[in-house]
């Protein structure tokens, strides 16, 4: 028979408290606000209770849950939250700095248009480079550090650097061919 949620709650909270602290700290670094983390932790809480509330001595089981289990439970819950968000077409995970920086809103209409056209040229230039170099270049241009790119792709630092630099050189060459000069006003 399942233990009543009320009596299980303190054990659950003890397990989750430390983990939630780490999740909040890391998610903050990624600019996710508290609401998304709260929703995630609630989902993890439900899953743990659901999985172990019906077992004998659930307090002991919950107290012994390894961090690796919390890790995979959180990842699974995070994916489900994404699915639900897509299903209801409500973007509930808005990073704090999600707004485009300083382009149109800080510039006059003419300058904004020029920036927009230049941005389109950059996109076309990226699109034109070798496929093997494109993902690395796109990651870099989205602001991801080289170390992260290497880690995510499972590549060595030198391979990552090589593809990135060559890809950026390709982009620059393409832009130069189109008459884009960086040291001149746009």
């Amino acid at each position: 028979m399942a233990t009543a949620p009320d009596s299980l709650s303190p054990a659950l909270e003890r397990v989750l408290e430390k983990f939630a602290g780490v999740v909040r700290r890391v998610c903050w670094r990624y600019h996710f606000t508290g609401a998304e983390v709260d929703e995630l932790m609630q989902e993890v809480r439900i899953r743990l209770w659901h999985a172990h509330g019906g077992q004998e001595r659930p307090h002991e089981i919950l107290a012994a849950i390894p961090a690796s289990y919390l890790h995979r439970t959180a990842l699974s819950a995070a994916v489900d939250l994404l699915r639900r968000g897509r299903a209801r077409r409500a973007d509930r995970m808005i990073p704090i700095d999600d707004e485009p920086e300083g382009m149109a809103e800080a510039a006059g209409p003419d300058l904004a248009l020029a920036e927009s056209e230049l941005a389109l040229q950059v996109e076309r230039a990226v699109e034109s480079i070798q496929p093997s170099r494109r993902p690395v270049v796109r990651m870099h241009l989205m602001g991801h550090p080289r170390e992260e790119i290497a880690r995510v792709l499972g590549w060595s630092e030198s391979k990552t650097r090589n593809l990135l630099y060559r890809g950026l050189a390709d982009v620059r060459e393409r832009l130069l061919a189109e008459g884009v000069r960086w040291n001149s006003p746009t």
Binding site: A2, K18, F19, V22, V23, R25, V26, C27, R29, Y30, F32, I46, R47, L48, H50, A51, H52, Q55, P66, A67, S68, Y69, L70, H71, R72, T73, A74, L75, A78, V79, L82, R83, R86, M93, P95, P100, E101, G102, M103, A104, E115, L118, A119, V122, E123, V126, R134, P135, M139, H140, L141, M142, G143, V152, L153, G154, N162, Y165, R172, W182
Partner: protein, 220 residues
């Protein structure tokens, strides 16, 4: 090789990221599972690169990538602070009782109705929903190795994994076919013990899988 000019790169970044974040992304979007595969480095590199290229050009998918990166990083940190070294994916080697909980907890509504899922004792790789065909337990280390299995109803894609004795992954591939060939057998060490298995690719539900088969390479 010439190092990119910093100011120029920053300018490129601002233009590119501004364009992506302004909503110039394109559909179809990458699936949450595909993005998760990038974050956890599962599946083939080609697939992950394809997903990554879309993610880095689509504001919506990029937010989801950042979200999963954050959760994964938190999990890794939590494991580290708990003294856990292993970074094995959630489904790998986990007792069925734990994995079943992920499947069971579909939503709060189910929980509130008090429908509790019972746990099972069997281990991953002990099931045989997918039947393996070959190779046998001993193969030559000087030739490509072809892994084959019988098709399972309704499965569109399979993941093949060759694990070392400690459970770490020596080789993995994702395919829609019922076979996969490891062309370069030198990726496996001769006279070392491996085991291999196949599971289906799912949208997050409990995947069907094969049992584990032993594999040992003879000298080259």
């Amino acid at each position: 090789m010439e190092q990119p000019n910093v100011a120029e790169t920053e300018r490129l970044q601002k233009l590119y990221a501004g364009r992506v974040k302004s909503g110039a992304g394109s559909e179809p979007h990458a699936s949450p599972d595909a993005i998760l595969a990038v974050v956890t480095r599962e599946g083939s590199e080609d697939e992950r690169l394809g997903t990554l290229e879309h993610v880095m050009a689509c504001a919506a998918c990029h937010r989801e990538y950042q979200w999963l990166m954050a959760v994964n990083e938190a999990g890794v940190e939590a494991e580290g602070s708990a003294g856990v070294v292993s970074r094995r994916p959630w489904w790998r080697g986990a007792p069925m009782a734990m994995a079943a909980s992920l499947l069971a907890a579909v939503g709060a509504a189910v929980v509130l109705t008090g429908v509790l899922r019972t746990t099972a004792d069997r281990e991953r790789g002990a099931s045989s929903d997918i039947e393996l065909v070959g190779p046998g337990a001993r193969v030559s280390g000087s030739q490509p190795i072809t892994f084959a299995w019988h098709a399972a109803p309704g499965v569109s894609r399979y993941v093949l994994e060759v694990q070392r004795a400690d459970g770490s992954i020596a080789y993995a591939d994702t395919t829609a076919d019922t076979s996969a060939t490891l062309a370069d057998a030198s990726r496996l060490r001769p006279d070392s013990t491996y085991r291999w298995w196949v599971r289906e690719v799912t949208d997050g539900s409990e995947p069907r899988s094969s049992s584990f088969h032993d594999l040992r390479l003879t000298g080259r």
